[in-house]
């Protein structure tokens, strides 16, 4: 092991910023991070062991205790649930002889849940040793169980288990045609750097991650900073449940994304760029590396690009299972080899980003669009869309519809148009923008996709009339509690309290006043949290409470007070140990007549 770790440390030039990449390799080899590795790394990277442990304990894909040689994770997104995830994971656990969350006694396999893996159009999905599994069903699971029990190496598993499809159903401005390699860069250089920034400004392009900050303004600010060492970062930590368009863009349009980054580098004067790829998209890693290598050989990356004296290269950083790293300053912390905790702002990344240097962080789709604008000019983009939302938006559509997949629309398109196109009938409502977005009911389908109405990073989940809205709210609320980084009090404690209070109501233990208490708590978490995660964590409850108050009220007991502590629930462990499930082993804490 000493030699193995020494080798990795050396390959990473003993840089502490590479800690995540180093730990990924150790986890992959040993299926945990052994104590000896921590000790050795601490010395090799000259960082305290506490920093290594805090990184291991922060990211879902790192473990201090051994996981199975086959680490199986099943995606826990609402879309997976809608496709029968619960019964599948039970079936899988039963077939494998392992408890969910545990390692099988022989150490061969471990099974657990994981947050949305970005395969919502081809779920139920999962990961085995980090590689995406799609369209899981019982026959597929039987195959997987047999392969694991025979201890077949992953590269001998049938390819169809890992097949990931693009499922592009509707193309527009951006997806219609691929830009020939190098053309965006050549156009930008020919037109002139300043003029190209002007075109991007004229295009009205706003960040596609959801916040919608004007791209040209961000690039301009960064280029005006005094510090001349600057960085370009492409945020491909696509963690919002229900979003998967960046996966498709990187699978089929990666060259154009890299080209957009290179145009940005030319404009802001950066020599180094990074693609922060979420760990769940490990299957794309090698392909992206070879595209980067190809671009270097073609003179589109590296030194003296296109013979124009431009130096720029791109490195890929893989994440390790943390939704919060989609927040740009948390992403930068993660790139620096630390836990993904959002920074205090100001200063903003354009002033002090990666390693304290001016940094532009943009979404995959933003760079894709920027490359298109560099070729076709600002008007090409600005002529489409609405006044405040120019151009098109690429949607990831999943849930109850005939054709889940990728759809590109001009901004200003109504929800009804989208629903017609994807083949959704009998629709109850749509979650727009993922759990952090808005739930809209079937009374609002004339609303428009645009920053000024329904802003979205691309997630569009359809629910039909057979679905229970509270199941969705429950799933999303638990997701936020699981993904809260824990830095600030309102989010760390508040998201857990939201989970408790919501469960109390859903499970029928709520009484008069509990919905009011829930709403109060929502406001507190929303108004006082440090970053976007906490500020939006209450949205699933708030947006459904606003539209379906009766749904919540109907779950309440008709008594004035029910304690937060479930006495009977607390006895569950005792009942299991005593193997007693008779009436005498249960307690009622309040004698009530519910029919009163």
């Amino acid at each position: 092991m000493r030699q193995f770790i020494q080798g990795i440390a050396e390959n990473n030039h003993y840089q502490a910023t590479h800690l995540l990449q180093i730990l990924r390799q150790i986890q992959s080899r040993y299926h945990y991070i052994p104590e000896a590795a921590i000790e050795q790394l601490s010395a090799a990277l000259s960082i305290p062991r506490t920093q290594i442990i805090s990184v291991i304990e922060f990211y879902s894909f790192f473990h201090l205790a051994p996981r199975g040689q086959y680490e199986l994770l099943i995606s826990d997104s609402i879309t997976d649930h809608m496709l029968g995830k619960k019964s599948l994971i039970d079936y899988l656990a039963n077939k494998l002889g392992v408890v969910v969350g545990a390692v099988r006694e022989d150490g061969v396999v471990s099974l657990d849940n994981t947050s949305c893996t970005g395969m919502c159009d081809q779920g139920p999905a999962g990961l085995v040793n980090g590689y995406a599994l799609t369209r899981l069903d019982r026959p597929g699971i039987d195959k997987i169980v047999a392969l694991i029990n025979q201890q077949k190496p992953l590269d001998e598993w049938p390819g169809e288990l890992f097949q990931v499809d693009d499922n592009i159903y509707k193309s527009g401005l951006l997806l219609n045609r691929q830009i020939e390699h190098g053309v965006a860069l050549k156009s930008a250089l020919k037109r002139g750097i300043k003029e190209t920034l002007k075109e991007i400004d004229n295009s009205g392009l706003r960040g596609r991650g959801g916040a919608g900050f004007k791209t040209a303004t961000k690039w301009q600010f960064c280029s005006e900073e005094q510090q001349t060492e600057r960085y370009v970062v492409c945020n491909a930590d696509e963690g919002e449940p229900g979003t998967f368009k960046d996966r498709v863009l990187l699978n089929s349009y990666a060259d154009q994304v890299f080209e957009g980054m290179t145009v940005c580098a030319a404009i802001i004067g950066a020599k180094q760029g990074f693609l922060y790829l979420r760990g769940e998209y490990l299957h794309l890693h090698d392909k992206l590396q070879s595209i980067l290598e190809q671009r270097r050989q073609n003179g589109l990356l590296g030194s003296n690009i296109l013979g124009e004296g431009l130096d720029f290269d791109i490195e890929i950083c893989l994440g390790a299972g943390a939704y919060i790293c989609g927040e740009e300053s948390a992403l930068i912390e993660s790139m620096e080899g630390k836990a993904g905790i959002p920074r205090n702002r100001p200063p903003y990344p354009v002033t002090q980003g990666y390693l304290g240097k001016p940094t532009v962080v943009n979404n995959v789709e933003t760079f894709l669009a920027a490359a298109g604008i560099a070729v076709n000019g600002g008007d090409w983009f600005a002529n489409i869309g609405t006044e405040k939302s120019k151009g098109t938006k690429i949607l990831s559509i999943s849930g109850d519809c005939a054709h889940p997949g990728i759809y590109e629309y001009p901004f200003g398109t109504t929800v009804q148009t989208v629903l017609n196109d994807c083949g959704a009938d009998d629709v109850l409502g749509v979650q727009v923008g993922g759990p952090s977005g808005t739930f809209i009911s079937n009374q609002e389908f004339d609303r428009k996709l645009a920053f000024e109405d329904l802003a979205t990073g691309g997630s569009f989940i359809v629910f039909n009339a057979s679905r229970n809205i509270l199941d969705m709210v429950h799933n999303f609320t638990h997701f936020f509690a699981h993904e809260s980084c824990g830095f600030c009090t309102p989010c760390r404690v508040g998201t857990s309290l939201l989970q408790k209070q919501l469960d109390k109501i859903i499970e029928g233990h709520g009484s008069a006043g509990d919905v009011v208490a829930l709403e109060e708590l929502c406001q507190l978490v929303k108004n006082y949290s440090h970053c976007g995660l906490g500020q939006t964590a209450a949205n699933p409850i708030l947006t459904t409470l606003e539209r379906y108050p009766d749904l919540y009220q109907s779950r309440l007991k008709e008594i004035s007070y029910e304690p937060g502590f479930d006495l009977d629930g607390a006895l569950e462990t005792a009942r299991r140990m005593a193997n007693r499930y008779d009436a005498g082993a249960h307690l009622a804490q309040l004698e009530v007549n519910e029919h009163e």
């Binding site: 920093q51 922060f58 990211y59 836990a339 100001p346 600030c488 404690v493 309290l497 006082y528």
Partner: protein, 239 residues
């Protein structure tokens, strides 16, 4: 003319580089806080110092003062919400003031009194947390840790060590120490370290000092925390 902000209508001067908290403290205005101590880099995590700056919620300890800012500190809504944030800190840990040797000297308790907190409001979490009494002179009672990171910062910035760190994610956050055994006795901590003196609660205690000052004669037994804070904590000057 020097630059000013207004806090609750009162005009307050500030120097370039000061935060709202710095300016307020210098002018004798108390903003409740737990994770902040002027001698260390501001952290901005407890959120007790949330004020409204031109209508927007900001952490006073990290937000830079800028000319003409209109700051609300004593708004009823803010006071009520700060009380709830304090209640959150109480329910996520195990805080039993009557049996805690820090009672009367505890900032968490003092802030709770200051905000007129009379109950927990939220359901208790009853987390299973440990006590590390392995070290001869210093002990950690994890039940009382509120993750303010003052010990982490003090160890790095004042003691020139790296004894403490916060690990884990979300509600599973916890304090760890720099030793293979995970125990305080195997670290290079010293009872005279600044890190052992900054804990706002009773999570880090120097042994055999707990009852040297009798209950009833302790810091917050006779004074409110605002008064103590303003007379003992000295704000950072602008650079």
């Amino acid at each position: 003319m020097s630059k000013t902000i207004t806090i609750d209508g009162k005009t307050i001067p500030f120097e370039e580089g000061q935060t709202i908290m710095d300016a307020a403290m210098a002018a004798g205005v108390y903003i409740p806080h737990l994770c902040h101590q002027p001698e260390f880099t501001p952290h901005g995590s407890c959120k007790l110092c949330t004020v409204k700056v031109n209508g927007r919620n900001c952490s006073a300890c990290t937000f830079p003062a800028a000319d003409g800012q209109d700051v609300l500190n004593q708004a009823e809504e803010l006071i009520e919400d700060r009380k709830k944030i304090t209640q959150m800190l109480f329910v996520e840990g195990n805080h039993f003031c009557p049996s805690c040797e820090k009672t009367g000297n505890c900032q968490l308790q003092a802030v709770a009194y200051h905000l007129n907190m009379l109950d927990n409001h939220f359901p208790l979490f009853y987390p299973d947390r440990k006590v590390d009494a392995s070290h001869a002179e210093v002990m950690i009672d994890h039940n009382r840790c509120i993750f303010c990171t003052l010990c982490v910062r003090a160890s790095q910035q004042k003691d020139g060590k790296d004894v403490f760190a916060i690990s884990g994610r979300g509600i599973h956050k916890h304090l760890i120490v720099n030793a293979q055994s995970g125990l305080l006795k195997d670290t290079d901590v010293d009872a005279s370290d600044k890190a052992c003196a900054v804990c706002p609660t009773g999570a880090i205690l120097v042994k055999r000092t707990g009852y040297q000052v009798p209950i009833g004669e302790r810091i917050y037994d006779h004074k409110q925390i605002d008064q103590v804070s303003l007379s003992t904590e000295h704000p950072k000057h602008g650079e």
